[in-house]
Symmetry: C2
Subunit: 436 residues, 2 copies
């Protein structure tokens, strides 16, 4: 076997996009040639590259590679076996070049979660029709080999739930708010100045980027077509330092948490702020690190933790896919052929859960009675309640409530009733408490 492998032709990569990740991939290919050949039984080489600027010094030697201004031309070159798409963007050149590669039966490795969240079903089908593979380990949770763990490692399981903190920037913001007592706006500005945020920050703090990742994992886990448009999205922009402190007082941390699960009411996909117990692995996740929790009927709960971004971790994930192809590991994009993926009915409402409620009550007699009546009338019962002493504003009495498990709809009815009764000085905040 070893001998037959070592006579294989080199695997030739064409890399489109020479930012941090593309440069990292080239560094690995150049510096670890012998190791990669030993592991896969064949040489792995770069033959051609493409990027916006040819002149830019990226700290790697590109002189041995052909240059293409047009990524589509790169994807179609005869000396490219695998098209490595690291440009980003859901449409435009990334999609055009990916389609061009697949049309010619070339394998594609991409880190492009937006493209796959929008066009993954069609691209995966195109790959299958042309006998190519389309792999995306680097698109989800950086260096954590979660796509492989879910698609292959847990293939003997009916997946029951996927949970994850998959946007390092959001977790960094929430952790810094907590550790330094800073406001959301202060930390957001600092993170932006450090270049941690996407050009459109809503992609990060609005949960969209993390939602793209969760939609891809959900497709694999539940054998369903990618359905990003069905995802419930809520960002971290309204989280205050008070919420973080009061959650901490009650033994919780606030995370931008992705949850996907198949229920009797349909496929539930949410990327929203949630409270998780501070003693849980997710609760203990600080800073820009990512964590994905995979639950299967056989395996129970598997927790994966690692760097969600950065040159080395993301390039490591790209190389995982490239080296799979070098080893003739050829798995369908979402773990089964696209034609077998079901079109999931989106769950009309999330599974009931306890909620944390922060209410800024107007400090006058009878207000608490109206608040509790609003909850009771909506069928929401109270697990515990705290009223804080008046601090900076003597006219407002902050009230914190943890409810028993309730539907979000019931809660919304109760909160609307409170607002109609004019007992709150500002809109209520409700954050789901997720059992993890």
């Amino acid at each position: 076997m070893a001998n037959s492998q070592s006579t294989k032709a080199p695997l030739r990569l064409g890399i489109a996009g020479l930012g941090t990740v593309g440069t990292g991939v080239i560094k690995i290919v150049q510096s670890k040639a012998n190791l990669l050949a030993a592991r896969t039984g064949r040489a792995v080489v770069v033959t051609a590259v493409s990027a916006r600027s040819r002149a830019k010094d990226r700290g790697v030697d590109l002189s041995g590679y052909a240059w293409e201004d047009d990524p589509v031309a790169l994807a179609q070159r005869d000396d490219v076996d695998v098209f490595v798409e690291l440009m980003g963007g859901a449409d435009g050149p990334a999609k055009a070049a990916t389609e061009a590669a697949l049309a010619m039966g070339k394998d594609v490795v991409t880190a492009n979660k937006a493209m796959l969240a929008m066009h993954g079903n069609a691209l995966a089908a195109q790959a299958e029709e042309n006998g190519a593979v389309l792999r995306f380990e680097a698109a989800v949770a950086g260096g954590i080999p979660v796509v492989k763990a879910l698609t292959e490692g847990l293939a003997g399981n009916t997946v029951t739930r996927i949970i994850g903190v998959m946007n390092g920037t959001c977790n960094y913001i929430l952790t810094r708010m907590e550790n330094e007592g800073l406001s959301y706006d202060e930390v957001f500005a600092a993170a932006n100045a450090l270049g941690y945020l996407e050009a459109d920050p809503t992609l990060d703090v609005g949960g969209i980027d993390a939602g793209h990742k969760l939609a891809l994992l959900a497709a694999i886990g539940f054998g369903t077509k990618v359905a990003f448009s069905d995802m419930v999205l809520e960002g971290i922009e309204r989280i205050t330092i008070d919420d973080i402190r009061q959650a901490a007082d009650m033994g919780y941390k606030i995370k931008l948490l992705g949850v996907a699960q198949m229920t009797g009411r349909g496929l539930e996909q949410r990327m929203t702020p949630c409270l998780v117990p501070d003693t849980s692995p997710l609760g203990q996740l600080d800073g820009a690190t990512n964590m994905v929790v995979l639950e299967g009927d056989e395996v129970g709960q598997i927790v994966l933790r690692g760097a969600g971004a950065g040159m080395g971790p993301t390039a490591s994930a790209v190389m995982s896919d490239v080296l799979d192809i070098a080893r003739d590991i050829r798995v369908t994009t979402f773990g089964m052929p696209v034609e077998m993926l079901e079109t999931a009915k989106p769950a009309v409402a999330a599974t009931p859960a306890p909620f944390y409620l922060r209410l800024s009550c107007i400090d006058k007699p009878g207000v608490l009675a109206k608040v509790t009546a609003a909850l009771g009338d909506a069928g929401v019962s109270i697990e515990r309640m705290r009223q804080y002493g008046q601090h900076d504003n003597p006219d407002v009495a902050p009230v914190l409530i943890v409810t028993d498990p309730a539907s979000r709809n019931s809660l919304d009815v109760a909160m609307a009733a409170m607002e109609s009764a004019n007992v709150l000085s500002e809109p209520p905040v409700a954050i789901r408490i997720e059992a993890v």
Copy 2:
């Protein structure tokens, strides 16, 4: 691709060993036939089984399967494509049947860490010579897909260190000692009564079982031949509740920790009790759960956590290998051909580290001076020291020391000097503090 896959012949399993894991595998094959076929493009079926007792009721229907009393005969059957070895034992029938299967070019999936720790190099070579694969996801850390993560997911990395808590029974014992203030002997007896221990408990509490697992991961990670005999092994039998409490006071937990790393002095492989920070993922690991930390030069640190034993988790891992074979995923046993694995020089001594020292000093003048002189003479400096008040024994003054990073050899010299000076009422305890 989907159509060509669906015309493939069924993959036929012969399962030897019908204990918890074998029964779990059969349950998965029977209950998830459609799901497995969708994922792999072919039917996965059991054709024949073998176990010690044919009469025993295992709660699964075996009537459709051929029965073989002799696992070698099972392995050689014409209607068996994959021999699934779940008998256990480093030698004897497990090895004979595995060799018989490989000799005929049949693929083998095994959960047998002892067999691979002892004979893995030879068996992997035999597999390669015969064009077969020999896979062992279930042998290491139960349901955690760590063999796959290391062999495939991190294939673009030079692995720098592998750390793990990989014996759930030991972690259960240490956690119960801590939580309930019980002695080692008390918890050991309770665990034994619950059937948590191997027939020979030394395999668990002596670190041998976990050492087998670490030796297999080290071979993959560092591209070296399996070298279990070079592993430094130390069990948890000498850990006292005092050690656990005092470690906790200083912000540490005690774990039976496996560490493998390639150093300038050779390959370091240790499975010994260590202190780890109580805020680290390893420090927060309670009960029978397993955790493996993989460190690579590109990916940084990846943490994997999950159930290390039990029917579902272990059967899930067996199925991961089986379904890989069904998908034509064929990777060499240790990630590269055996002939390319290097024979590692074992490190003559472990990397220096801080140590926790517990000394039962005789309570008389000048003793502390002699203790500190013994350390100083051996070149071991003290990072912090505590002398406890005399409690149950007025003649003994317990002294706790955390050293600066020191070699184990220097520490042994210092401890020998203390014992020669007759200043200790019982042998000193030294536990390494591992940076994790």
